[in-house]
């Protein structure tokens, strides 16, 4: 609203100078945004240009040039290198996400609707678990997984992601269910529904958005995770991030293949982000803004 600063007896030149200023500042805003967007997309451009070049065209000095012809050779090679890793990651991420979403939903339901003594102390203590550097539990964790024969296996990795995913999934569901008015549940309780009845008939049917946020969050986190992957299942069942790092650390794999592999490893989470970005952002903000 600029009308306020314009005098009633506006003269022509004055108005146009204000309009000029507005256009100038709008232009500057768009220019800055476009420039920033180009810089943010620079790595994407480099990755795709390098990936689509044919192997004999790949050259460090012409790294930024457009490919003369489109070749899928790099992507084919990268896919061969990453195939096991991609498979392992899918086999890890699906059960781990499903289990931690279900547990988070039940925990959130209990913490928001069934207040029990000590809950106000237990919940923050649980949350602390998602902030710790996992190095602080890694030595006992490896030892423990060895003892129960889950070391160097996908099952062990699933267990880790479920356990250490509990704080964030519980937090997201608890905050989501806190918004559900208690009266809704009281009505159900009058009709004779118990703990499970209320959950099944009242809470679960309205939980879909909560599940979407949690599933997207856990999917992205677990897919992208590296520390557990490399220490717990690094040799027997490398996840996609471990496979990608092995590829990039090796001296014999060409860098155009590395770039193509980085792109392949990023595709699943990128697709989720582009299709369901709104929910992704909600999960992102859930980790920092509480209550």
């Amino acid at each position: 609203m600029t009308t306020r600063s314009v005098p009633l007896n506006t003269t022509q030149p004055r108005t146009s100078s204000i309009q000029w200023q507005r256009m100038l500042s709008t232009g500057a805003i768009y220019l800055t945004l476009i420039l920033a967007a180009l810089i943010f997309l620079l790595p994407v451009y480099m990755v795709l240009m390098t990936g689509f070049k044919s192997p004999d065209e790949v050259n460090i000095s012409t790294m930024w040039a457009l490919p003369r012809s489109l070749s899928l050779e790099s992507f084919r090679q990268a896919f061969d290198e990453l195939r096991t890793g991609l498979g392992n990651s899918f086999a890890l991420v699906i059960p781990a996400t499903a289990i931690s979403a279900v547990l988070g939903s039940i925990n959130g339901y209990v913490l928001s609707k069934w207040k029990f003594p000590g809950a106000n102390i237990i919940f923050p203590l649980m949350l602390f678990g998602m902030f710790i550097p996992y190095q602080a539990i890694l030595i006992p964790l490896v030892q423990f997984l060895r003892d129960i024969d889950l070391y160097n296996s996908l099952a062990g990795l699933i267990l880790c992601h479920v356990v250490y995913g509990l704080p964030i999934t519980t937090l997201i569901f608890r905050n989501y269910y806190t918004e559900v008015p208690d009266e809704m549940l009281e009505a159900g309780a009058i009709d004779g529904a118990g703990f499970f009845g209320l959950y099944w008939w009242i809470v679960l049917p309205i939980s879909l958005p909560g599940f979407v946020v949690v599933i997207i969050w856990q999917f992205t986190q677990i897919w992208n995770e590296f520390l557990f992957g490399v220490t717990i299942a690094g040799q027997a069942a490398p996840t996609v991030t471990v496979a990608l790092q092995n590829l990039s650390g090796s001296q014999i794999v060409q860098w155009n293949v590395q770039m193509a592999a980085a792109f392949l490893a990023a595709i699943p989470t990128l697709i989720v982000y582009i299709l369901l970005g709104r929910y992704f952002i909600r999960g992102l903000l859930a980790g920092s803004v509480k209550g």
Binding site: A36, F40, L42, I60, P133, I137, L166, G194, T241, A262
Partner: protein, 374 residues
């Protein structure tokens, strides 16, 4: 809510497994790591089924003042500089982008998607890609040649340059002076002028910390003559890591600030304008103060991420490049390659303490404000 006793019991029984899991896997394991850090536990002992010897705080002493462990001290210095710069970049860039996007922009959704998409990537992907962008003979350095400018010469993450150098043995005194200037004096000011209680707590903590630094740490380090003139400083190679991590995480602060900006009602801004505030004044008097809590949250979240950063430097440095080494990486190699569990555990505990110092007050204040709101 009328809840029967059976149902209450079921509710507790349903959450009990999760609580027990967290109790064991988080707190039990931290205790175990803490105990390991007080021993000389290593692979050889484990193979021979020998018990580890209790060595007290030796591992910690070696990390900070041991003759042969200068790697951890490099890590700590790297972490401090990296964290400071990374948080600054994310806050500055995130705030700028959020304010620009808040100007009723056409195509806001597209811009937002572009600025936030790196958040959906793994740090490993970011590392692999930026390692090539920062290759001294390629990437960013040759980009200017595309428009006829000379190529860049900075060697990014393998740069040997170091600024702000200091002698390790002087660190307690340097730290004490900094704490005095930036913690104790401001806290004292708030206590005297505003009778602030939080200020009082901070003041006491600062004074105790300084007393320990000057009376405990400084003489202890001065006694270690073999440390000699061991120098540390800000490795410029870290700039490469800061830029890569900033590219990945700035969108996060942007999203936080944007959510905050959307929460400030247009009426409030309009009221300020009616009172004669210029557009910049509106930001200075209304918007920035209202965004302050978000800035604090962002500092804590980003800070704790950078204190425990691992994947990105693992991919970019591979554990050999000490210019960008971090405690998380050191712990990994010490434990799983060097098989020195005692020392690895000690590094892990130092990391945990650093993160806890940032996170615990944050969690407490969050839950206290939530409790008073109810």
């Amino acid at each position: 809510m009328g809840q029967s006793r059976t149902d209450r019991f079921i509710a507790i029984a349903m959450i009990a497994p999760s609580i027990i899991l967290i109790a064991i896997f988080v707190y039990g394991f931290i205790g175990w790591t803490g105990w390991t850090s007080l021993t000389d536990s290593n692979a050889l002992q484990q193979l021979q089924r020998l018990p580890a010897n209790n060595v007290g705080l030796t591992n910690y002493g070696n990390l900070f003042a041991g003759q042969l462990d200068n790697r951890f001290r490099v890590d700590i210095v790297n972490t401090v500089f990296f964290t400071g710069l990374f948080v600054l970049v994310c806050l500055g860039l995130g705030m700028l982008l959020a304010i620009l996007l808040d100007q009723k922009i056409k195509g806001e959704g597209i811009f937002r998607t572009i600025f936030l998409f790196p958040m959906a990537l793994s740090f490993v992907v970011t590392g692999v890609v930026w390692k090539w962008l920062f290759n001294p003979g390629a990437g960013i350095n040759v980009l200017p040649t595309a428009i006829g400018l000379p190529a860049g010469t900075f060697r990014w993450f393998i740069s040997e340059d170091r600024i702000l150098e200091f002698v390790w043995r002087d660190l307690p005194i340097i730290a004490a002076v900094l704490i005095g200037l930036f913690v104790i004096l401001p806290a004292l000011y708030y206590v005297v002028t505003r009778r602030s209680r939080v200020g009082g707590i901070i003041l006491i903590v600062g004074v105790i910390l300084n007393a320990w630094l000057l009376l405990g740490a400084a003489p202890a380090l001065a006694g270690r003559s073999y440390l000699g003139q061991e120098r540390h400083g800000f490795n410029l190679a870290l700039l490469a890591v800061v830029l890569a991590a900033g590219w990945q995480m700035s969108g996060y602060t942007m999203a936080m600030y944007l959510a905050g900006l959307r929460g400030i009602s247009e009426e409030l801004r309009e009221a300020a304008r009616v009172d004669g505030c210029s557009e910049i004044g509106v930001y200075r008097r209304i918007v920035f103060p209202l965004l302050a809590p978000i800035t604090l949250s962002a500092i804590i979240i980003l800070g704790h991420i950078s204190l425990k950063i691992f994947d990105l430097v693992y991919v970019m440095g591979g554990g050999d490049n000490l210019k960008i080494d971090m405690p998380g990486l050191n712990m990994f190699f010490e434990t799983f390659r060097g098989q020195n569990f005692g020392r690895g555990a000690a590094i892990a505990m130092v990391m945990l303490v650093m993160v806890a110092v940032v996170i615990v007050p944050y969690l407490i204040s969050n839950f206290r404000s939530e409790a008073t709101r109810r």
